[in-house]
Symmetry: C2
């Protein structure tokens, strides 16, 4: 077992029993609250998880919105549902405090991924407590009563347990804990809970534009979504990659040809496409498209230093995934995800397996995925891919080539750029409010806080950072092994407790 | 319109009204027979085509076998059905003549391709006469009566009209014509009509081995199957390519990975496979696998000369198929099909189009087709492909790789060689009986006879040439545009008349 894996396991224990020398007033308050009311918190969480919340079911969604809105209303928040035609409502709230240092806004989404109940042990909306991870021998147990000891390794199973109802319960209980200890917030607190994130956030931009006036005074957005680091160490994330892509189809004859009667004479689209794709990247994973890396905005010295401190999970991941090598070997996944990527998401030409026939197919198609980092423009990057295709001798078309075109050009590629995607987002770790959060969180966690410049995945964070021009930080709560998007989604209780401490610390952080 | 196309069109006319200076006695007899009995021939053909003959329907097939057997029995052939358990019978016949120069055997198959009646204008087993090709404005017409003029451009539509019942009617009427003119055969005539060619000839080898004694005295096999040349000029074909192939799967992680969280770090199977396929062939269509062309048995000087005389159909084909270039450009399709080929029949990895997802698929697979020429051994050729894959740094497995294998080897390719295929077949144009046939046919056709060293497609002719060690020539009758294997299969009447002349000439040819 590698040193790093041992560290990671220790980190798991640390997160569940963190007692820092710098323990603040707020942490004392949230811990006391959890100790006295843990059983009620689990009951409340269970109740919230039992409410079906698939974005397409408008009635269910509205019940969730009203229920959540009411919970915060009771605690003195000024709540409203922000409406937009044909959209699920945003649960919006404000809590203003006199002499506030800043206004911060918690983003959460209260909808969950669609469900296939047949794959769930207990059904997606029938939350059940387990003594540990179900796939590691955990057993179903009853909810605890008052005074019962609660093991932080317990897990609650149910849709949205990790993604993304846990933050709602943590914010709510942080508020309760601070109020019961009579500790005031240092910032104005806003809530912005989306109801269709898992349906693609198709109305998020319109919501933000329509309610811009309400949001103008927000100094920093806190995205309470996604999991903490695989090492179980707490982390803050300062950006995401953007995403774009295209489909490319190359052409042989107008119809599939008999591979005997024409093989060795007719052009073979699968062969042509293979040559084209091979020209795009070298064996080491470097993209060979001209200027592909030119617009990448480099990390600051501070971010570089933080990056170097992030636990190396490469060996663990390679072992888990059965990989004896990786692209750009010698550089960690943490570094590699800070560059734009080009991946073959799909290949199709004729058939393989039982359906394979003795033909030369008439086309071959690839779906190319491109992930973007700060500085990359989606359309500009696709232009570079197109230029590369042209450089390989292809005539590019955007619709099916007609006979005249076919007879004129030796090599024809159809490019489909319909899904144009969106840019990456990154907030500086040295932005003043970001710095305040880093300090506050670092002060209460025992282990070193992970500061991740950006996730490899994509979220439309640019709507906040580039459209609204506000800093935005991802503040995750859930365990990385929460089965997000799948059946038997769950939350580890230690992460729930961590989240309550975290939210309390953020609500009370100094300048 | 190119000169060659004009030639091709003229050739079409020639075939339908061939009157040679060298007209033989047999041709006089068959032409007279056709002139007097054309309407009966079309009735007989129609009756034969109305009998359903899909190989899987055993009862239908046996009715065909018995009906055909009876037709030849009546003409003095000694007929029997050769049986094999679980197989359709071979319609076998012999006609011995005193002082015969040789024994020749006509191979025909009396089963037809499976049918989808919904795609047929009149149903597959409801033969109908047309005044021309249906897709070129031909109209349905009644069968002619005695004395009615028959246009050789008429067509009969029905399953097996071209593939492969036409030769049965031509042989039958050649026999009738010669008998009515009291012209004797110069060779012993044997008939070997297969009943499951379109079902893959799975029992052909067993039939040949079981009945080897019956077949031992055959000097040459005549394969009456397939179409004449695209130029409509008559042709004899002396071989076919063999066929083999394999599927190759390359591996990434043990599961599909999120293209954001892992893209630019995890190996991309589609990219790896593209590189592997690109390494196999250059842009000009030359296979780059070591020694791929080494075992090709070269053509003789005679065959080379004949090859050079074959009409060049490349421009016509390129125009038809919408191709601005071909592999090995500068060399004709006729030449290119005399080399082994390597084609990508299928590519599959993840999905494209609406099903495309933001993942790095865990595998990518290609179905590779290999056509073989005389001298190539299927297993040996696949060994060469495997060696090439190994040379690209791959560890080859034959079953799914386990975790230990995955973690040990950087690049893993699974090779599936289950369909091992079979060798090519070629009969020398200078083999004495082959020469006799060439001379006889050349003498009666006006235009120059095309002597094709081998077809690009594959048939298990090696069973005759390499297993039974007998010469075998393909003697096609059908028009090339007969819609073989598809709906609205048809035969052009000119080709029927040509076939009757042809069979008569072969049955009466001198040494």
């Amino acid at each position: 077992m590698g040193k790093r894996i041992i560290l990671a396991l220790l980190a798991g224990l640390i997160l569940s029993s963190v007692v820092s020398a710098e323990e603040t007033k707020s942490v004392r308050a949230t811990r006391k609250w959890v100790q006295q009311n843990g059983h009620v918190i689990l009951q409340d969480f269970t109740r919230l998880l039992s409410m079906p919340n698939v974005a397409a079911n408008r009635k269910d969604i509205r019940k969730n919105a009203e229920y959540i809105s009411n919970l915060f209303q009771k605690r003195g928040f000024d709540m409203q549902l922000l409406e937009l035609e044909e959209a699920n409502p945003i649960v919006y709230g404000e809590y203003k405090v006199p002499g506030a240092i800043r206004t911060l806004c918690f983003y959460v989404h209260y909808d969950g991924q669609p469900v296939d109940p047949t794959k769930w042990t207990h059904g997606p909306f029938n939350p059940v407590l387990y003594s540990g991870a179900m796939d590691k021998g955990g057993k179903e147990i009853a909810l605890p009563g008052k005074g019962d000891k609660i093991d932080p390794e317990w897990r609650i199973y149910g849709r949205s347990a990790g993604d993304d109802k846990a933050p709602i319960i943590t914010i709510l209980n942080a508020v309760d804990a601070l109020q019961s200890s009579k500790i005031g917030f240092t910032s104005n607190i806003k809530l912005f809970f989306e109801g269709e994130e898992e349906a693609g956030s198709t109305n998020l931009k319109a919501h933000l534009l329509k309610h811009k006036d309400l949001l103008d005074d927000i100094d920093i957005w806190l995205f309470c979504d996604g999991p903490v680091h695989q090492s179980r160490r707490p982390q803050l994330v300062f950006g995401v990659r953007g995403v774009t892509g295209m489909e490319v189809t190359v052409y042989g004859a107008t119809r599939a040809l008999h591979s005997g009667h024409y093989g060795n004479w007719a052009p073979v689209p699968g062969q042509m496409l293979a040559r084209l794709i091979a020209s795009m990247k070298n064996e080491d994973g470097k993209v060979l498209i001209d200027n592909f890396y030119d617009t990448v905005e480099p990390l600051s010295e501070f971010e570089r230093l933080e990056l170097a401190k992030i636990p190396n999970v490469d060996i663990q991941l390679k072992n888990e995934l059965g990989l004896a090598f990786t692209e750009g070997e010698g550089r960690t996944i943490n570094e590699r995800l800070l560059l734009p990527s080009l991946t073959i998401k799909g290949l199709a030409s004729g058939n393989v397996g039982k359906k394979a026939r003795n033909v030369i197919p008439n086309t071959a198609t690839t779906a190319i995925g491109v992930r973007l980092v700060k500085g990359n423009d989606p359309e500009d990057m696709l232009d570079r891919v197109e230029s590369h295709i042209r450089k390989q001798g292809y005539h590019i078309v955007y619709t099916e080539p007609d006979m005249e075109t076919r007879l004129k050009y030796r090599k024809i590629a159809k490019v489909d750029r319909r899904r144009s995607g969106y840019i990456a987002s990154r907030t500086s770790m040295q932005e003043p409010n970001a710095k305040a959060i880093i300090n506050a969180v670092q002060n209460f966690v025992e282990d070193e806080l992970i500061l991740m410049p950006a996730l490899g995945g994509s979220l439309p964070l640019y709507l906040f950072t580039d459209m609204l021009k506000k800093p935005a930080i991802i503040v995750p709560v859930a365990n990385h092994d929460n089965n997000q998007h799948a059946a038997n989604e769950n939350l580890r209780i230690a992460n729930l407790w961590y989240g309550i401490d975290l939210m309390g610390v953020i609500m009370t952080m100094p300048r």
